[in-house]
């Protein structure tokens, strides 16, 4: 799969994201490709295993930021919802969302 095919599959709005990178295509590609290496995702999985809500919140928050800036909309929405759920202490909701988030993140990689 080429880079473009991959990004299309994930649903990244390349134009919008490129604008965010001030038009630097190379930089954008570099960071999107780096995403699988991003440790935040792993940290989130660890936190989920340990059921450490604070860590889950923080990692989800970071993930939200990263996915937002990279244009991974689906992941962004999910992680945002996860963060909100934890903050509202809606643990059941969180429980539900976390696997979804994890899955989606894995997919993107």
């Amino acid at each position: 799969m080429t880079f473009d095919e991959a990004t299309d599959k994930i649903g990244v709005d390349k134009e919008e994201t490129l604008r965010r990178f001030s038009g630097n295509t190379e930089l954008m590609e570099r960071f999107i490709k780096k995403f699988p290496e991003d440790t935040t995702f792993n940290e989130l999985q660890e936190a989920l295993k340990a059921k450490n809500w604070t860590d889950i919140e923080n990692t989800a928050h970071t993930l939200k930021g990263v996915s937002g800036n990279l244009g991974f909309h689906e992941l962004y929405t999910l992680s945002a919802a996860l963060v909100t759920a934890i903050r509202e202490k809606n643990y059941t909701e969180a429980d539900k969302l976390s696997p979804q988030t994890v899955d989606t993140a894995a997919e993107k990689s």
Partner: protein, 369 residues
């Protein structure tokens, strides 16, 4: 002037955020990065004066955004450098707290670079203008303050000349007024150090010293035949002395009649000194017979200064005394009764005053033990 603001500092633990901001601003500025609060603060000492802006994340390890803001505040940098908060969390609570800590604007994530760039550049320009204005203002204030000072100096020089002219008939050397002013100044400073209860600030000391110039202005009212009665005709008769005494009241009444003058800060001291510089600590002075600290401290000090100068200088009715003699006479109560605190200060400074203001003018022939 924009040449001097060349750098921006990005403090965020997420590399992607730093990269995005760097990309957006690298054409306008040199970009400095830090991955947490401490590393960010470390870069301040060498770069602070060239910083155009700081981008700050809130959630970071080691030292978070609020911690950094606190430090910036402690170093008084927030006024000069705009700080932009970067956050995914644009909740009201965080934003309000950020503003309270001194952030100038909040940049929400995900970034819209065009908007961010525009906003940031606008604010940087505003800060630049403000900083320049402040600099110009301070420079102007210095210039004004210098001019003001010179003007004051000139005015006081004129007053001194006029007062000397007023006493021309009775002032043999022409420097009595200047010396009394200097001695008054020395005594006041000694008093403020040894006895802070008299509440003598630097500006008060300055005012009182200047005010002392007018202490004998009332002598204008005294007829020549009394003011300059030749030594050969003996001392003043009691009637003549009564008239002589009126130089105190005549002087201060003259000052009081000048409506504009009454509004100035120095007026109360001029009036007090003029009226009460012949009062005595024991109440046997004139014109009001005030005792102790009823006598305004300004008048008390000028009184001592006046007497000291009279003793050490040659006058029509007496030769110049040595400073040892003068000190002895003043302490012995031969020339008036004075405040013990004041005498203490006088004793400490008499020698210094003599060396500074008298020694050069006299040679050993002038003295009589």
């Amino acid at each position: 002037m924009a040449e001097s603001l060349k750098k921006i500092l990005i403090i965020d633990d997420v590399e992607l955020n730093r990269a995005l901001l760097r990309e957006a601003f690298c054409k306008n500025f040199e970009v400095l990065e830090a991955e947490n609060g401490y590393k960010g603060l470390e870069q301040l000492p060498q770069n602070a004066s060239q910083l155009a802006a700081i981008f700050l994340d809130i959630i970071m390890p080691e030292l978070d955004g609020f911690g950094v803001l606190q430090e910036l505040e402690n170093h008084e940098l927030l006024r000069k450098v705009p700080v932009f908060l970067i956050t995914t969390e644009a909740s009201d609570y965080v934003v309000e707290r950020a503003y309270k800590y001194g952030v100038v604007d909040v940049i929400p994530k995900p970034f819209n670079m065009q908007i961010i760039h525009r906003r940031v550049m606008n604010i940087i320009e505003l800060y630049n203008n403000r900083n320049q204005l402040e600099m110009l203002f301070n420079q102007q204030m210095h210039v004004l303050s210098d001019q003001d000072f010179k003007l004051q100096e000139n005015l006081w020089a004129i007053i001194e000349v006029l007062s000397t002219a007023a006493e021309y008939r009775s002032d043999e050397t022409g420097h009595h007024i200047e010396r009394v002013k200097n001695i008054t100044n020395e005594l006041l400073r000694s008093l403020s150090v040894n006895h802070p209860e008299y509440d003598l600030s630097d500006s008060k000391i300055e005012l009182i010293s200047q005010a002392s110039i007018l202490h004998d202005i009332g002598k204008i009212h005294i007829p020549d035949r009394i003011l300059n009665k030749p030594a050969s005709e003996g001392r003043l008769t009691s009637e003549e002395f009564e008239i002589m005494k009126t130089h105190t009241t005549a002087g201060c009444e003259m000052l009081a009649s000048m409506k504009g003058f009454k509004n100035s800060r120095i007026y109360e001291y001029c009036y007090a000194i003029c009226r009460s510089h012949h009062e005595r600590w024991d109440g046997k002075g004139y014109p009001d017979g005030l005792t102790g600290n009823q006598i305004p401290i300004a008048a008390q000090v000028v009184s001592v200064a006046d007497v000291y100068d009279a003793l050490i200088s040659k006058r029509v009715y007496k030769p110049a005394f040595t400073f040892e003699t003068a000190v002895k006479m003043i302490n012995g109560g031969e020339c008036g009764a004075f405040n013990p605190d004041l005498i203490e200060c006088f004793n400490q400074t008499a020698s210094k005053i003599y060396d500074k203001y008298y020694k050069k003018e006299f040679d050993s022939n002038t003295f009589v033990k």
